[in-house]
Amino acid sequence: METLIGLLVAAPLLGAAVLLCGGRRLDRTGHWIGTALAAASFVLGAVLFADMLGREAEDRTLSQHVFSWIPVGGFQADVAFRLDQLSMTFVLLITGVGTLIHVYSIGYMEHDERRRRFFGYLNLFLAAMLLLVLADNYLLLYAGWEGVGLASYLLIGFWQHKPSAATAAKKAFIVNRVGDIGLSIAIMIMFTTFGTFAFSPVLESVGETSEGTATAIGLMLLLAACGKSAQVPLQSWLGDAMEGPTPVSALIHAATMVTAGVYLIVRSGAIFDAAPAAQTAVVTVGAVTLLFGAIVGCAKDDIKKALAGSTMSQIGYMVLAAGLGPIGYAFAIMHLVTHGFFKAGLFLGAGSVMHGMNDEVDMRRYGGLRKYMPITFATFGLGYLAIIGFPGLSGFFSKDKIIEAAFAKGGTEGWILGGAALLGAAITAFYMTRVMLMTFFGEERWRNAPTPSPKEPSVEPAAETRGEYEVPHPHESPRSMTIPMIVLAFGSVFAGGLFSWGEAFVHWLEPVVPFEHGHPPVSALTVTSATVVALLIGVGAAWLQYGRKPVPAVAPRGSLLTRAARRDLLQDDFNHVVLVKPGEYLTRGLVYLDHKVVDGAVNGTAAAVGGLSGRSRRIQNGYARSYAVSMFGGAAILVAATLLMRAV
């Protein structure tokens, strides 16, 4: 059974290798190969899952040592896998959603001449992501961590001919690298402290080290998580990452990769438990991000960017939960899984809309689409209900538990966190309703040619602004696209209930993820009611603004906050002013310095010797008598020096 774990990673990896090295001859079959291998991986996962269910709860961890990777002295890095309930959850999510999105992409990317490569990258992503969650030590996890980063880079920049896509891809990779510093340093501290960086020994002996060390590791891990999961302050890349094809946004930037940070924190729970300060940092990051993402989500007119803001915000919930300790870990993962379903579904829905709308992404150019795309509307709607936490649907169960746990944190902290989470729930309801209304309801704004925004002219005028506007013909997407959406919609509806049935999910995870019941200062029912109220307020507010009155096809100027939120709350401007510009000046300055000072010193020395030479050769003036003077003087000096030596 253990050997299957390796195969789990190997199958998509093989797919990536074959597709990327295979060349043009695989253009016709490539997407099938890719999908088949993803599905194979899912089947393997399912087999392993069945096997795992067949064993005792305490006996469910499988491990496989494949080979010794980097053995140098005390540094022993192995390629070894560990499949326990936590990683199993991820394996199923990744391969399941992954396979669905492969299927979806067959239709979505049908007309792209580089579809084979796209599937290669997708397979590469699956392999890396599986490596990340299956690794039994931090270094191998790091390999997977960077591997998904690479896949993300390749996929965001898949349409490389678009400068914006290439820039977004680069930005994603680099911001992630900043986070990776954290993971590297965390591993280094672990190795220095424990002499190892495998999960079990580190997590088991973390209590023996000082709190300071644990805090340092925890903070570094948090930094890593911030990068990968787009948490403040490393969140800026996620919005831009929407430049990638929509299936990518669904799989990588919604369902799986971006949640890796949550996985990391939950996996390293023992470290955070030993470091309260780090935990505080985690919850702070989570709370800030959930609000940040939500606010950004409210202001975006680009459907994918609105969803990206939402993703950021929802992961904020997860991080918040993960920072709460044993009262939150399981819920973080639970929300992660349900979010995987509904957010993937939402993105696929968005992709479907775009597919039918000539790749238009501006929601102000949508409206009234429910008639034209019923399946998309239905699945998207279910996803919408799930994400806002409509009672009974997946999101309700998982999000409500997190809000409860936040209150259960206790003290002022608990109130602040709980309040933030509640506020977030309200805003979530607002912006998701806004998306829903703008896309599927209201007038059909796409029928008229757009008036170009006077304020922010786009860099490249699109076809429509050049006066050749072609009215789109919204239509439902092919079955290869709708089926995955339907499947995901099922997940969005039922997963939450299923997991919460007798706390099934919590108990499933309990052997690896410690669990405690939180005790909120008010009753659970109160919290739930408050959540529902918040939800209603949000929906209502959105309806007031976008449902009752027509949506302007051109964005109004908006309030200061709206304008800031449109610019991602000025995060890029901040980075630009604080990092990019000074960095440019520094680089330019250093280039100058290198040329003028470092190199200049060398060239200067050479020039000085040359100058000395040019001047001293003039002594050789061609007159024999002056040569004689030199000799005479030399003789005098020689004599004088000799005498002087004796005198001294």
């Binding site: 010797v609 050789q620 040569y627 000799t642």
Partner: protein, 544 residues
């Protein structure tokens, strides 16, 4: 009858015939004898036959003298049987024989370049060599044209060369101050004349001769005055006796000695002036100023010979003087020599950077090299002696080879010595450029060349002798010097050839052989120097 025999007998009693070890003096005698024969050739042989006869004579004489040196060394004269000959005037010991051997080989190769007659275009249907048709004729005047038309050649250069070689052979072996002085003059005077005999650029050649002569005479006056003071101090001109007086062993044996030896000023000033005379010949700063001008003006084969052989002879004499006569004064001369070595290395290297003429460049290079060799001299240890011997052997062949290559690069005005004309030589004549590059790299002291082995040897000796700082200065000077050697290589290989650039003359086997010997010695001494190092270290003991 009876009176004559009686007279003879009495004369024999009164004037004891000196013991002359002709066998051990053979190398010198052969060379000087051949020189005299050469003069007779000039007098009696028809003009047409002179060139061949003189060249052959010189070659044979040098070869057999070298054989004699080898023979002497083989019979242990360099080591166990070393001793003084000719009433103590000359030493036959390791350093002397080693240096004589080097001088003879260098001269032999130099004769090849002297005899080269294919480089210049033919004049009136006859091959011509590098020397003026008639040295006394006014440059460009009627007399000269007539001489050229008549096919005159200055075959006197061969006897002159032989006389110079004779002097050089004696110079490092001289074991008293008189012999030293005479040897100096014997090899200097022919060189002055040789310098004046260039076929092309005669004004420069004559100027070189004038400068060399005046400054040479000036320096020998200093040397002579130094000899006088030294003699005044020690009451003798024999090295061994001076050394023992300096070392206090027989101070005050006579009243006069007691008077003079009390006055160290005589000794110190005399010693300084003596050393100065020798430093002039080796071209050390500040007595170096003649070198660039003379090297540039003299006919290139003469420059090559002079640069190589004079340096060997002069350093030989300097070594003997410092190690045999003045060991008691080591503490006095060492600091002074430190200074001379340092300024020689630095001045030579620095000024060379901006030179534009190949011959002047090599002249400054030779000044820097004099500094390097002085570093070995200063070591004042047996390994110092042997390292200097080795360096001299290595350096002289590189120099000779380099100047031989210079003779090949020509344009309408003769040798194209201006560096700008060497641009792109590597494209036109890769082989010649590569050979010259090897010589330059050897000068620069790049490993695998004799220059490196030599430099390593002297620096090692200096370091062991406690002159670590000198090594550091030497290294810095080497780095500076590397710059201009490299510059020439850049010019040859990486610059585009000029359209009107010079051409490389195809030499006869004579020059080819000379260059080939230079390359061979450079590489062999660079890669497998052990045999020669052994030779030098066996030879590194002076007889006293």
């Amino acid at each position: 009858m009876s009176t004559t025999t009686e007279l003879t007998l009495r004369a024999q009693e009164m004037v004891p015939a000196p013991d002359i070890e002709y066998g051990q003096l053979a190398p010198v005698l052969i060379v000087i004898g051949a020189a005299v024969v050469g003069v007779l050739f000039e007098a009696f042989l028809p003009r047409r036959a002179r060139y061949a006869a003189q060249a052959l004579l010189a070659g044979l004489a040098l070869a057999s003298a070298f054989a004699a040196v080898v023979g002497l060394a083989a019979t242990g004269r360099a080591t166990t049987e070393a001793g003084l000959v000719a009433m103590g005037a000359l030493a036959v010991d390791g350093p002397a024989l080693f240096l004589q051997g080097v001088i003879l080989l260098v001269s032999l190769v130099a004769v090849l370049t002297f005899a080269e007659r294919r480089l210049d275009p033919r004049a009136h249907g006859r091959h011509v060599d590098s020397f003026a048709a008639e040295g006394a004729a006014v440059p460009g005047g009627e007399g000269e044209k007539a001489a050229v038309r008549a096919g005159f050649t200055t075959t006197e250069v061969y006897p002159l060369l032989l006389f110079a070689v004779g002097g050089m052979l004696v110079f490092p072996a001289a074991n008293d101050l008189l012999t030293l002085f005479i040897a100096l003059e014997v090899f200097s005077l022919p060189l002055y004349v040789l310098c004046a005999l260039a076929r092309r650029k005669r004004l420069m050649s004559q100027e070189a001769a004038l400068k060399y002569f005046l400054l040479g005479a000036f320096s020998s006056a200093f040397l002579l005055f130094g000899i006088a003071l030294m003699y005044g101090y020690a009451g003798s001109v024999k090295y061994a006796e001076i050394a023992s007086v300096v070392a206090d062993t027989n101070r005050g044996t006579t009243e006069a000695l007691a008077g003079t030896t009390g006055n160290d000023v005589l000794l110190l000033v005399g010693g300084a002036l003596l050393v100065m005379g020798l430093l002039f010949k080796v071209g050390a700063v500040p007595f170096h100023m003649w070198t660039p001008d003379v090297y540039q003006g003299a006919p290139t084969p003469v420059t090559g010979f002079m640069a190589a052989a004079t340096k060997v002879a002069a350093f030989g004499a300097l070594l003997r003087l410092l190690y045999v006569v003045l060991p008691g004064l080591t503490w006095d001369w060492r600091p002074v020599m430190w200074g001379v070595a340092i300024v020689s290395m630095l001045v030579g290297a620095v000024i060379a950077i901006t030179q534009t003429d190949v011959k002047r460049l090599l002249a400054y290079s030779s000044i820097a090299h004099a500094g390097f060799i002085l570093a070995g001299v200063i070591a004042a240890t047996p390994s110092g002696i042997s390292s200097v011997l080795f360096y001299l052997a290595a350096y002289s062949f590189v120099t000779l080879g380099a100047f031989a290559v210079v003779t090949l690069v020509r344009d309408a005005g003769g040798e194209a010595t201006h560096l700008s004309k060497w641009a792109g030589l590597g494209r036109r004549s890769p082989l010649v450029a590569a050979v010259f590059a090897i010589f330059l790299l050897a000068f620069a002291g790049i490993p695998m060349t004799s220059g490196f082995a030599g430099k390593f040897a002297v620096f090692k000796a200096a370091a062991e002798g406690g002159a670590g700082a000198l090594v550091v200065v030497g290294v810095i000077a080497s780095a500076i010097a590397a710059f201009f050697y490299i510059r020439v290589i850049v010019l040859m290989f990486f610059s585009e050839p000029k359209v009107e650039g010079p051409s490389v003359a195809v030499p006869s086997p004579l020059t080819t052989t000379a260059i080939a010997v230079g390359v061979a010695v450079t590489l062999v001494l660079g890669v497998a120097p052990q045999y020669f190092l052994d030779l030098a270290s066996q030879a590194g003991v002076f007889v006293r």
